[in-house]
């Protein structure tokens, strides 16, 4: 059963979590500091120096919470914050939060550092020193019950719900049995599945909360005027949102649903969790998730060490902070884009493999990438990142019946 995959190793953080990577993050605190930050990160051309940031100048509690969660994610070893100087993000509080986690952190304010060129030069020096410091750190043994894995589908088509998504579901069942926390999301793409999903909740109260959460998503998208359905989905044979939902839903596998979390909430134990990514209250800031990477970033903020990304039409994205593993659903897409894919689930349609075979292959990839092997998008240098305005209420007590005291 046990194949010769290297044992997991992780970098221990002060909160007890372990990271499968040890990246330096350069974070801009407003769009005005984006270019300077990009130049600092690009200078190193390093798979472990990542650029993230928030573009807005207005204050937003969600964005602040996300930045705190992301800069203290277990995969992050050190952080350089880059501020223009007049934006709303509370840079000092963010810096203190990161310093309180024991990570090396520094802050550059462009208006006080002498402008673009001087800040880029200063940033390169600081990130260089952080890399040297991180190079001296050693990982320790880590087990699967310390891992958090997310899943998302992007560029779905009529094959996604038959091959890649149920295969990820098999992998999730396997991981949950090992004590891993697994996260699925996009309640806007679970419209139509709320009742069958509620039946899998570990308590009736959680089941009702899941139904209410999907009803919220339907209401929100109706106000926006579009469902979470892209033209490419139709090109690939999907006709309706509920058809897409049924395919997407199969990524969750068959385990009981242990909890309902929101972006930034960390699963308290192993098990299967639904991440609610649709804002609370009246629609205010536009579409809940403007593209796949916004959801990936929210799963990372909830602690995901890596993301399983299923695609039929052929997405190529990766992510900053946590590696993305690509599972291609469509055998014809795989022929065109094989160099962007980790796993060919299209083999199920051509009769070369069973769902269980591909589920096992994904499980082995999870273990290999968690042990340090680069995923395909990671090796190609994909480090996409999106963070926008949103607003959420805190989760209620019924959302996490298994919360550990």
């Amino acid at each position: 059963m046990n194949e010769s995959v290297a044992p997991l190793q992780g970098f221990v953080r002060s909160d007890g979590r372990k990271g499968i990577r040890n990246v330096v993050v350069v974070a801009y605190l407003v769009e005005c500091a984006h270019h300077v930050s990009r130049r600092i990160a690009q200078h190193f051309d390093d798979l472990d120096v990542h650029l993230i940031g928030f573009p807005g100048c207005f204050p937003n509690q969600y964005a602040s919470r996300m930045m705190r969660a992301l800069t203290t994610h277990p995969n992050v070893g050190a952080v350089l914050l880059v501020s223009l100087g007049c934006e709303s993000m509370d840079r000092d509080a963010l810096r203190e939060h990161i310093a309180g986690s024991g990570r090396p952190v520094d802050l550059l304010v462009i208006q006080e550092t002498g402008g673009t060129a001087a800040t880029i030069a200063a940033g390169i020096e600081k990130v260089g020193a952080m890399r040297t410091e991180l190079a001296g750190q050693s990982p320790v043994p880590m087990s699967l019950d310390e891992l958090v894995v997310g899943t998302i589908c992007g560029g779905s088509d009529g094959t996604s719900g038959i091959t890649a998504n149920p295969a990820v579901g098999r992998c999730f069942d396997h991981l949950v049995a090992e004590g891993t926390a697994c996260v699925f999301e996009e309640t806007g793409e679970l419209i139509g599945c709320e009742d069958i999903m509620a039946e899998r909740a570990v308590t009736p109260e959680l089941g009702e909360l899941i139904q209410a959460c999907v009803a919220k998503a339907e209401r929100y998208y109706r106000t926006m005027g579009f469902g979470s359905f892209a033209p490419g989905n139709a090109d690939g044979g999907l006709t309706t949102l509920e058809e897409k939902s049924m395919g997407a839903y199969s990524k969750s596998g068959a385990s009981p649903i242990s909890g309902l979390i929101k972006p930034g909430d960390i699963p308290p134990s192993g098990g299967l969790y639904l991440l609610d990514v649709v804002p609370d209250g009246e629609p205010r800031f536009g579409f809940p998730n403007i593209a796949d990477n916004a959801e990936i970033v929210e799963m990372i903020a909830s602690g995901c060490h890596l993301t399983l990304f299923t695609t039929g039409r052929g997405s190529v994205v990766g992510s900053a902070i946590s590696p993305v593993i690509k599972v291609c659903a469509n055998p014809e897409t795989y022929q065109r884009l094989s160099e962007d894919m980790d796993v060919n689930a299209g083999k199920i349609l051509t009769g070369e493999a069973s769902l269980d075979d591909v589920g096992e292959e994904i499980y082995q990839r999870v273990k290999a990438v968690a042990a340090g092997e680069r995923s395909v998008s990671e090796a190609l240098g994909h480090q996409e990142f999106i963070l926008t305005y949103k607003s959420f209420e805190p989760i209620g007590p019924g959302c996490l019946p298994v919360r550990q005291v």
Binding site: G192, F226, G227, A234, G236, G237, L238, T239, E332
Partner: protein, 114 residues
């Protein structure tokens, strides 16, 4: 090697016994012949991989079942073996959109420029 006329039975997949549509497991040309529920079928149009075709003759208003659950309703009658997609069915929840949907609100103001 892809057959041009006679297509083997694994070209279509029935995901659930209650379904009234099947899904193509590979792209199929117009005129391809296959067997559906033991009876011969000739495709009246090409179908890409992952698309749906009717298992039997269906009426406007009928629910379409896939994975054993309803995924929308027919807007028009379809013949056995006919393509089922956005031209003849719709969501029971939120309508799907196309690449052209984003232009609709501005189309009248753009007409004067074209």
């Amino acid at each position: 090697m892809r057959e041009h006329r006679s297509v083997s039975s694994d070209a279509l997949i029935l995901l659930h016994p209650d379904d009234n549509v099947l899904v193509t497991t590979r792209s199929l040309p117009e005129g391809a012949t296959m067997t559906l529920d033991g009876q011969p079928l000739v495709l009246t149009g090409a179908l890409p991989v992952g698309h749906k075709l009717a298992r039997r003759t269906l009426a406007a208003g009928d629910k379409i079942f896939k994975y054993g659950v309803p995924i929308g309703s027919l807007l028009a009658p379809v013949a056995r073996g006919e393509w089922v997609h956005m031209h003849n069915m719709t969501s029971d929840y939120l309508a799907s959109h196309t690449r052209q949907s984003g232009n609709q609100t501005t189309s009248s103001s753009q007409e004067s420029h074209s």
